[in-house]
């Protein structure tokens, strides 16, 4: 009985560990960037267009993933704390007053990583599994 319970709990914790390791969005910049780390607050301001620079004054170019993608949903829920409707409502206010435009869009984790690797001003969010040496993780929510 207790052995079964132990096996079960071991299995469950392994399963949870595996799930945790697989899912997980991280915020990245180019490995050429001078930015070492960012807070959720600083990242939020860049992605909502409230600031156009990194805290050290370098120009910041945020890159989004398409609506409905897992990385996008997780990033905006965890870091920006807005669900897709809240985000659309936010941008409706900004766009229709002419105050700005949402970040540019690239199709997936790999496209975002490649673009960021080449551009020291770019910032994006990708799944942890897509991270390689060309980019630096600056925030792990």
């Amino acid at each position: 009985m207790s052995r079964h319970r132990l096996t079960l709990s071991l299995f469950l914790s392994l399963a949870m560990f595996a799930a945790g390791a697989r899912a997980g969005v991280v915020v990245v910049v180019s490995s050429k960037s001078t930015v070492k780390s960012l807070t959720a607050e600083q990242t939020t301001k860049i992605f909502l267009g409230k600031v156009v620079t990194f805290p050290d004054g370098q120009a910041a170019l945020p890159i989004d993933q398409p609506e409905g993608s897992a990385a996008r949903d997780e990033f905006y829920t965890k870091v920006v704390r807005k669900n897709p409707s809240q985000l659309t409502a936010y941008w409706a206010k900004i766009i229709f007053t002419g105050d700005g435009r949402p970040p540019m869009l690239l199709v997936d984790n790999i496209a975002v990583r490649k673009a960021i690797a080449k551009n020291p001003n770019a910032i994006g969010y990708i799944d942890k599994t897509a991270v390689n040496r060309s980019v630096r993780v600056v925030l792990e929510p």
Binding site: K50, L61, T88, A92, R101, N121
Partner: protein, 398 residues
Amino acid sequence: MHQKYFLATLLLIVAGIPVAEAEPLDNSTAVPVKNAPEPVKAPATPVLTDQPMFKFGGFGSVGVSHSSQNQGDYVLESSMPKGAGRSSDWWFGNNTRAAAHVTAKFTPEVSAVFQVDSEYRSDGSYSPEVEWLYVKYAFTPNVFMRVGRIALPTFIDSENHDVGYSYVWVNPPVDLYRQLPISSSDGVDVVFRSEIGEVGNSFKAIYGTSTHDRPGSVATSEDMWGIFDTVEFGQASFHVSYQQRRESTRNLQTGVTGPWTRNTDLSVGASYDPGDWFVISEWIQRRSTYKIGAMYVSGGYRIDKFTPYLAYSQNSPGSFFPDAPAPTAAAIERANRAQSTTSLGMRWDFMRNYDFKIQYDQVKLSDTSNGYLINVPAGVTLHGSKFYVISAVVDFVF
């Protein structure tokens, strides 16, 4: 009116010429490769342009409302000649509109915005009018100047007042938002944005003129200037505005133009929105020959796609300044209008870019007025009475 159509035509001509040159958004080449290994300092001219020159969009709302008070019309704005209640059992005029929007970015410094809006007008039509039309010059990304028709950020949701999708309510709390002195200015503004530590600040100063159509009259404002400031700290936001202008009203039937009066308006607001819930409150004091105040407080909770909310709004009756010339009976009646509204509603984000909202308002008229009900037959007094309004709306953006 003619001026508006002229401006619209002008922009269409300007906008029409370079349309063919607009760059398509090509994702694969959207981020230019930079050869220089050093990152660039934030330049006055951002080096990264990735977006097309022209962006088109639009928004709209289809809403219906019903009032239990059939001896008068319930309206949301002073420009509306009819409303729910006496004129119609089920009324579409309060919350129905459609708008088209173009943003053009000619260079990193120069951009323009054009927005035309069709909604229920003072003449009873839904004729389209130019809501926004300005050219913007950015000295830096954080310091810019705009020339043209610019909406005034008197309240937190004034500039996006027509974009139902951008806020939670069926309409922003009515007893405050109907006090919006002037919705837009034809003139110039300058904006300074700054970031000090975690605190963001946005300062605007405007100067211009405005005309405002009401049923049977036109109000003209001149020498209008205002300062507006918004401070954001984390999920908290504070807003303050001060405006001053000279206003004169011309009666369209008699052709008589009233005297110029000096108007000043001071408003403050605050909101806190950590994501799962929000609270927001705003207040205004308006001074002309009399003084009048209004406020609201509202809050809501987000549960997945549903946002139930509550709101309470009210305005105080106007009190005349002792040094003002003796007011006419009509002026006293106008100043004396006061009411309060308790609202309970729900927003449902049922589909991408669409919402559905339903709202129940209980309106209480002041003990000495018929509130802001219009078209009440002569001799009918509804002082101190209560009635309810139920409204439903679908908002969309594209």
